[in-house]
């Protein structure tokens, strides 16, 4: 039954698809080119610096050994007074919140935070946080944080931060309060630029500040806000209570240029709810995801059907869809009046589809699905699309009659509307004319974020006093008169209300590491009568008073306020039932369906939100810079993503066409501004569309973040929009080293091009196929039961054969040369459900934090030396024009017959009686034989002591020692390492069980990646326990092992992905 021709072919990159010899050559080598080049001692001159240092170091070491008091073992420093509740060696957990308002649990050891995860009690993020929050730990200990307040005089305005004179807070408070008083007396504006307000207490503080200083004015902004959506909502429903979407309630989701699984909204919640409808045990209730987009987003990569459409035509598309459903099929839940009808009739779906080359079959399936589930269809529109698209989408959802199902009764609380770009233009004008007395950057960076057309940076020169409250020196603090360090979110008090009836609290878990203050407390101090009486508790007291006045009555409890307060702090969350405001009825008559405001001309540029850098504020976080972009796999850079056809048209290329990892640069001109940046041909992007991530190219972003990538904010015009048409592109004739890890650690070899498919690395089926399979299997079961009767063994064997046939696989017989080993106790195993994995990379980052994984930097990444123990492999199938993406988290498989173990000459890697493939660092001599012999390419070698090597030891500085997980060895140069299945957590659980006099259970251990996974795709436990989830999944029809046929017997089971497509649309495994 060999019908290979119908099976999907997988490919990892365009170059491999095209059989580029260089590309194939490079995948042949375990360690990339250049790995040993810089170690050639003979190539060095006789009197090299290196040799001199080596000799010097060796002699110093001998001398030191001879002279030291070597038996000295140091000291043990205990507490003077031990805080109650601290047990040395045990972690304490505190509930708090991120500044984004999501609930977290912070793990602290001996008073220092070392790991963060979601607060399981929090109703929004439900125990999960994204990669950015996982890596926030590094921001807390970032040695580049401003360490003390500084007042700059005119002569040292542009000094580097190391040269800045230290000033004490009291003097600064005195100076600034004087300036504030002077400004408000002279009627000059006090402008405070902040990010959007999510906290009720902060909102109260802002209002009170204005009462104290009447000329004060707050300006808030959010680069990736939902202003268009909100305005559209107000126009449709007459209020600003944007309904929260119930992602788990929709049967059909149509995402229009909306990356809800990647970058838009509260992604962890969205991923969790979306994937809750991707349960393979309940295949019939799978939801169906359609994306219509130009950029190849993570949502597009995860969708069942993806239609390619340039963003200018989105409005026409939505209107045509309304026409198709409301007019042609006469299915509408609302009455459309004549004027609306007339407008809608102008758009025709089939004409539209043929005009813009939409895939006719896919479109027909989509319309068909909508008509079958109109009240369970959710249409969502990306934040970057203009307002009229959002209005049309609101209307479409009303026409379908799905709003009561797919919107929850919660709404997003808007504490303070963000200011428009026009407001900021006005502010700039005021600053320029000298009407702004004091300008305060309230933990914001407008000079970098605001469109340059607004002229904010120039206007700064005309402001008398600029105060920047910041973590790390940024573009806006350059030229500031006062630089005030602010507390990290883990050092702060706060409260957040994202939705009605949900209030989360934030409490400090560590005293400020540096001489910083909480930003709210600083304002509060300037408002007080006597600024010398400052203490760190003032904002806490302010917040508490607010809660006592406003929140406590709503709690309606018999306990005292203090009890209530402490229980809220303990839980990190307070929820109450509020009489829900009924959602306003849409007023169709009042909706003005306007014309499309975008029109196609030249190239279209989409400025996208970076996956891991926020709006650029996390640029100094090396962990986040090193997480590969989930689609292009580019690290430490952004680039112009375009379709391969567009790249060809522009005569530009990436990678092995030329030299390894070299990309051509283009000059991208939009709105009269030109940016030179490298390109990346990305399959799936609409032709003539160029997508560029914002948030890169910081000019003052800290030691790590400065100069990484290219600043696409410079392309924005004063509207602040993210989509521009009429761009022009010219080949720059320059090239640039752009690192993409897509071809690193490849499992393919040159002579088996269809390796992925032949070796079953990716196995996928469609939902209809699987439903049919289940029915057939039931039939087979009853048939075989009759046939074999009580002969259980024969029955099982026959059933297995039957299953293999039904799934369309070949049966193979292979025998291991090793005898089977007995695992009498617990045996650890993992299962990864590919139906749920969206490639969000939360697991990768959580693993980095848990296991003290170093940051290696761009150059080392280019040599394939990234240290991540876990990676997300991406495989494409289909054509470069219409690719289908398959993702696969890859980590050490802890094989029973581990090939790495028998090649280690020093027995540094061995097998534990519980089935773990153990790595003993202190034994490793660094032969790298194991990595060479690993079929999964998951072993990582410390070519350097990367903490020393990266940026002259930036991550070796004082504060970083506090970051390390004390339960995991910090590896040094010359040592191999890899995923341990979080053996430290296993040992901790074992010790805990031991103390209770019990044996360890599989359910006692949760690995770091499992804990972080927003969709619970990763499961871990004891496969010898027949009731555990992993053992059930191991024997599930959909469960398979990667490279099963080489008999290494891996302990990670992958669950085949089911695509909710029609059976004939390929991707069935038969």
């Amino acid at each position: 039954m060999d019908n290979n021709a119908t099976k999907p072919r997988f490919w990892k990159s365009l170059n491999l698809l095209a059989n580029k010899p260089e590309s194939i050559e490079s995948t042949r080598h375990e360690f990339r080119k250049g790995v040993t080049d810089d170690f050639d001692l003979n190539a060095l001159p006789d009197k090299s610096r290196r040799k001199f240092l080596a000799v010097l170091g060796a002699s110093a070491a001998f001398a030191a050994t001879a002279c030291t008091d070597y038996p000295d073992k140091g000291e043990i420093i205990s507490y003077n007074k031990k805080p109650s509740g601290v047990i040395y060696g045990h972690a304490n957990y505190y509930a708090s919140s991120l500044n984004s308002g999501l609930g977290i649990l912070i793990k602290t050891r001996e008073g220092r935070p070392i790991k963060v995860d979601g607060n399981p009690q929090h109703p929004i993020n439900q125990g999960k946080v994204d990669a950015i929050a996982q890596a926030a730990m590094l921001d807390l200990y970032d040695p580049g944080r401003v360490r003390y307040p500084v007042k700059k005089s005119d002569s040292n305005l542009l000094l580097h931060k190391d040269d800045m004179p230290k000033t004490d807070w009291e003097r600064i408070d005195k100076d600034i309060t004087e300036k504030l008083k002077a400004a408000s007396q002279s009627g000059k504006e006090i402008a405070i630029v902040a990010h959007s307000v999510k906290s009720p207490s902060q909102e109260k503080l802002f209002n009170e500040f204005v009462l104290k200083y009447p000329t004060a004015k707050f300006y808030t902004y959010e680069v990736f806000g939902n202003q268009n959506k909100l305005n559209a909502w107000e126009k449709c429903y007459g209020n600003k209570n944007l309904s929260v979407i119930a992602w788990d309630k929709a049967d059909v989701i149509i995402a229009l240029e909306c990356d809800f699984l990647g970058t838009e909204g509260i992604t962890v919640e969205q991923i969790k709810k979306y994937t809750s409808r991707r349960d393979f045990d309940n295949a019939k209730s799978f939801n169906k995801l359609y994306t219509v987009e130009a950029n190849y987003s993570l949502t597009g990569a995860n969708s069942d059907y993806r239609l390619k459409l340039s963003p200018e035509y989105q409005y026409d598309f939505i209107m045509a869809l309304i026409n198709e459903i409301a007019v042609k099929k006469a299915q509408s839940a609302v009455n459309l009046d004549d004027s609306a009808m007339t407008k809608i009739r102008q758009y025709n779906l089939s004409d539209f589809a043929s005009k813009f080359g939409l895939h006719a079959d896919k479109l027909a399936t989509m319309v068909d699905d909508i008509l079958h589930h109109p009240t369970k269809t959710l249409v969502v529109c990306g934040n970057s699309l203009p307002e009229e698209c959002h209005i049309a989408v609101n209307l479409l959802n009303e026409v379908l009659g799905s709003v009561s199902n797919v919107y929850s009764d919660k709404y997003e609380v808007l504490h303070r509307p963000t200011n428009t770009m026009a407001d900021f233009a006005q502010l700039s004008a005021k600053m320029k004319s000298g009407n702004v007395g004091v300008l305060i950057h309230f933990d914001s960076n407008p000079a970098y974020h605001l469109p340059h057309e607004i002229g904010y940076t120039d206007a700064l020169k005309n402001v008398e006093t600029i105060v920047s409250m910041i973590h790390i020196e940024n573009e806006s603090s350059e030229g500031s008169h006062f630089i005030l360090p602010v507390n990290h979110e883990f050092e702060s008090w706060g409260d957040f209300m994202l939705r009605n009836g949900v209030l989360s609290t934030q409490q400090p878990v560590i005293a400020p590491i540096f001489d910083s203050r909480q930003k709210e407390a600083v304002l509060l101090n300037w408002m007080s009568e006597d600024y010398t009486k400052y203490n760190h508790d003032i904002y806490h007291q302010f917040m508490k008073a607010h809660w006592q006045e406003k929140v406590f009555p709503a709690a309606n409890t018999f306990s005292s306020f203090d009890e209530f307060w402490y229980s809220c702090l303990h839980d990190g969350i307070f929820t109450w039932d509020e009489l829900s405001i009924p959602r306003a009825i849409i007023n169709v008559a009042s909706i003005s369906l306007t014309q499309n405001t975008l029109s196609k001309s030249g190239f279209t540029v989409i400025l996208t939100k970076p996956h891991y850098l926020g709006d650029g504020q996390y640029a100094n976080n090396g962990w986040l810079q090193e997480v590969p972009h989930p689609i292009t796999k580019v690290v430490w850079d952004n680039c112009a993503m375009m379709s391969p056809a567009t790249a060809k048209k522009l005569d530009v290329a990436y990678g092995l066409d030329k030299l390894d990892k070299i990309s051509d640069m283009i000059d991208l001109t939009v709105n009269g501004k030109t940016l030179r940046l490298p390109i990346m041909p990305q399959p799936g992007i609409v032709d003539d569309v160029i997508a560029v991530d914002l948030g890169y190219g910081r000019t003052r972003g800290g030691e790590v973040g400065t100069g990484v990538g290219f600043d696409a904010y410079t392309l924005m015009n004063k509207s602040g929009n993210k989509i521009y048409t009429g761009a022009s592109v010219a080949k720059a004739g320059e090239s640039y080293e752009l690192i993409s890890s897509q071809e690193h650690h490849s499992l393919d070899e040159e002579f088996v091009k269809d390796f992925h498919y032949k070796r079953h690395i990716i196995q996928e089926y469609t939902v209809p196929f699987y439903v049919e399979f289940e029915n057939k299997l039931e039939e087979a079961k009853s048939r075989l039961k009759n046939e074999f009767g009580d002969d259980r063994e024969a029955y099982e064997k026959a059933l297995k054969t039957e299953k293999t046939h039904l799934l369309g696989h070949h049966e193979y017989q292979s025998h291991s040369v090793y005898p089977d080993k007995e695992y009498p106790g617990v045996k650890w195993a993992m299962a990864i459900d590919m139906n749920k994995c969206t490639a969000c990379n939360a697991c990768v980052t959580a693993c980095n934090v848990e296991n003290n994984i170093p940051i290696v930097g761009k150059e080392e990444c280019g040599k394939g030396r990234e240290m991540h123990w876990m990676r997300i492999d991406t495989y494409f199938s289909g054509t470069p024009e219409e690719p289908i993406t398959s993702v696969q988290p890859m980590l050490c498989q802890h094989c029973d017959n581990a090939p790495c173990e028998n090649v280690c000459p020093v027995v540094a890697t061995t097998h534990s009686p519980e089935g773990l493939n153990q790595m003993t660092y202190n034994r490793c001599v660094g032969t790298r034989y194991c990595a060479n012999n690993c079929p999964y390419k998951v072993r990582r070698y410390n070519f350097f002591d990367f903490r020393n090597d990266f940026k002259d030891g930036y991550y070796r500085m004082d504060t970083l020692e506090l970051l390390n997980n004390p339960e995991v060895t910090v590896r040094s140069r010359g040592v191999m390492e890899k995923c341990t299945f979080c053996t430290q957590r296993i040992e901790e659980a074992r010790s805990a069980a031991n103390i209770k006099g019990k044996k360890i259970q599989g359910s006692d251990v949760v690995t770091a990646c499992q804990e972080a996974c927003p969709s619970d795709a990763i499961m871990f436990g004891d496969m010898n326990d027949p009731n555990s989830k992993v053992s059930k999944l191991r024997n599930h029809s959909l469960g398979y092992h990667v490279l099963e046929t080489i008999m290494v017997k891996p302990n990670v089971t992958y669950i085949s992905r089911l695509r909710n497509t029609n059976m004939e649309d390929t991707h069935s495994g038969h």
Binding site: P71, D72, K73, G74, E75, I76, I77, S78, Y79, N80, K81, K82, I87, Y88, G89, H90, T910, S912, P913, E914, L916, Q918, T920, Y921, N922, R923, E967, V968, T969, T980, T983, Q984, I986, E987, R990, S991, N994, I995, G997
Partner: protein, 190 residues
């Protein structure tokens, strides 16, 4: 056959030299072993605390001070406030207690010298041993007899494994069947 200088060198001088080198190495190796392992290490402590007095004569339970030995990986050295539970009133005029009180009042931790140490890459767990009935003295010696605490046994991987492999032989005083300790790498190294 004439004896040459070379013959003499090969037959007499070389074996003699090799013998001398080997013997001196062997003697040095074995004589210096306890010192290399830290056996007998007894540095002067910042406060002259006597285990003989407290644990021996007064028979205070080990866990009165080493509180988390049954709960955690670490046995822990007590914080100064534990000492002050008694010494706020007991023997307040003794010079060592004056020193202690001074540390306590200044809020400074006492810099106790570390005696027993396993390397950073080995994760010894006190609780797992103690809850299974293994007496402190098995590793730490009889501290009830020590005025100045010193290391009695070596803390090398070999010593750990000796006991893990043959617990009954190493701890004859233990009654009942003793399970062998784990020998896999991850039990201690991670």
């Amino acid at each position: 056959m004439k004896k040459t200088v070379l013959d003499y060198a090969l037959k007499v001088k070389l074996p003699f030299t090799v013998f001398i080198i080997l013997t001196s190495f062997a003697i040095t190796y074995f004589v210096a072993k306890p010192e290399r392992d830290g056996v007998g290490y007894a540095p002067e402590q910042p406060v002259k605390f006597s285990h003989r007095l407290h644990a021996g004569d007064m028979a205070i339970d080990c866990q009165y001070c080493h509180t988390s030995v049954e709960k955690s990986r670490h046995a822990t050295i007590p914080s100064a406030d534990v000492c002050m539970n008694c010494h706020a009133v007991a023997k307040t005029d003794s010079p060592e207690i004056v020193k202690l009180t001074q540390y306590y009042k200044e809020g400074k931790p006492i810099p106790w010298k570390r005696i027993h140490r396993v390397p950073e890459y080995a994760y010894f767990n006190h609780a797992s041993h103690v809850v299974n009935g293994i007496d402190c003295a098995n590793c730490h010696g009889d501290v009830r007899e020590m005025d100045i605490i010193s290391q009695v046994h070596s803390f090398t991987m070999g010593s750990c494994l000796d006991c893990h492999r043959e617990p009954q032989k190493r701890m004859p005083q233990m009654t009942g069947k003793l399970n062998n300790g784990p020998e896999n790498c991850n039990a201690c190294h991670r």
